[in-house]
């Protein structure tokens, strides 16, 4: 849960990047770390195995001046995606304020995406939270690969709910829409605590850059 320190005029928010194994969560944080103004970020801490698979979590602290009179500190975490590390995911989700769910767009990863989203819901339920009530956006990552599912299919599979989540076509390796997704979840989070809880009309929704589709001949249907 976020907290305001009125003496130092600081607010802290925790944003967690969640998703199946090898979907690009750490790549998101690496890109943000490389591209954000160094004055506005701390060190990227990665607790990974020798093969660079996330073992515990990655952590990147960011500062921003977005609320008049306060320094806002965003703490970005990733969870380990591998199925066996569910206890670790529960720990990292503790006191979460916002979520970026990173889905792998490849056809063969769709089942893992669905399982991971369900796992997220189950783990949030342990904290008496539901995904619809927490600021959350979806990333459809790896849109540059040839065997990706169409966006409307991914929307049907992962975003089929009464109040749909904002979703982004992302290529985390080149950084396309990585900041758009981060800015979206940050704005939803900030407006959650505004005196009018709904995002007001005219509020600055981040602009997502459309991703060029792969050539038709490169697309493959699932077996």
């Amino acid at each position: 849960m976020s907290i305001i320190n009125y003496a130092s005029r600081e607010i802290q928010f925790k944003i967690v990047y969640y998703g199946p194994a090898l979907c690009g969560k750490t790549t998101n944080l690496n890109y943000i770390h490389q591209r954000i103004n160094p004055l506005n970020r701390g060190d990227l801490v990665s607790l990974a195995t020798a093969t660079e698979r996330t073992l515990f979590f990655d952590f990147l602290p960011l500062n921003a001046l977005v609320i008049k009179g306060f320094v806002t500190k965003f703490q970005l975490y990733t969870v380990p995606g591998q199925v066996i590390y569910n206890a670790t995911r529960q720990l990292v989700l503790r006191s979460v304020d916002g979520i970026v769910f990173v889905a792998d767009s490849q056809w063969e990863k769709m089942e893992e995406n669905v399982e991971s989203l369900k796992n997220l819901s189950d783990n949030l339920a342990l904290q008496n939270m539901v995904i619809e009530e927490i600021p959350c956006v979806l990333e459809y990552n790896k849109r540059d690969l040839p065997n990706v599912a169409p966006v409307n299919y991914m929307e049907y599979v992962l975003n089929n709910r009464k109040k749909r989540l904002q979703s982004f076509e992302v290529i985390s390796s080149s950084g396309q829409n990585v900041f758009a997704a981060l800015n979206a979840v940050s704005q939803i989070l900030l407006h959650k605590f505004s005196k009018h809880s709904e995002t007001p009309q005219g509020a600055p929704l981040p602009i997502a850059i459309p991703v060029e589709p792969a050539p038709p001949e490169a697309r493959q249907l699932p077996a």
Binding site: I67, G69, L91, S95, N183, F193, A203
Partner: protein, 156 residues
């Protein structure tokens, strides 16, 4: 309407008093109170020594991870953890179900001294936080105070 819990200037001053007294008695370098999600609640001492934000995130993870070890020997959790270095050491102890206290100390202090005073300090901090949760100050923002610019900018 959602509101963020607030530590008022008075709350911070009270916590600073408790932690400052602890540092004086133990001659530790710094002490940080964090919630179990890794957020910093209060800090006192020489902040040039470490990046407090990173330490808070790692310490919360470390403390939580050892719960499983504790369960294997029939405990709910370990109340305290000690990491011994060559020159600098770290002591972490549970304040309450939601909060942990971290102390970094060097050769001027000893683990026994830190452990001894941390018990009373943790109780005092817990009392302050209990009162704070009961009074439950909350703040929500005027939408006009939230910047219309993107929060984070991609610098090519």
């Amino acid at each position: 309407m959602n509101a963020i819990p607030v530590l008022t200037i008075e709350d911070v001053a009270t916590l600073d008093g408790v932690l400052g007294d602890f540092l004086k008695k133990t001659e530790a370098d710094l002490t940080v109170v964090i919630d179990r999600g890794g957020n910093v609640i209060s800090q006192c001492g020489d902040m040039d020594v470490i990046d407090v934000t990173v330490i808070a995130a790692l310490a919360a993870g470390s403390f939580a991870a050892t719960r499983e070890l504790a369960r294997r020997i029939g405990e709910v959790e370990f109340n305290a953890l000690y990491h011994q270095g060559n020159g600098s050491h770290m002591f972490m102890n549970s304040v309450d179900d939601e909060t942990i206290m971290i102390t970094v100390f060097g050769s001027r202090s000893t683990v026994g001294l830190v452990r001894f005073y941390s018990t009373t300090t943790a109780q005092n901090v817990a009392e302050v936080l209990k009162l704070l949760r009961r009074t439950a100050h909350g703040l929500s923002f005027d939408p006009k105070d939230i910047s219309a610019e993107p929060v984070f900018v991609d610098h090519p």
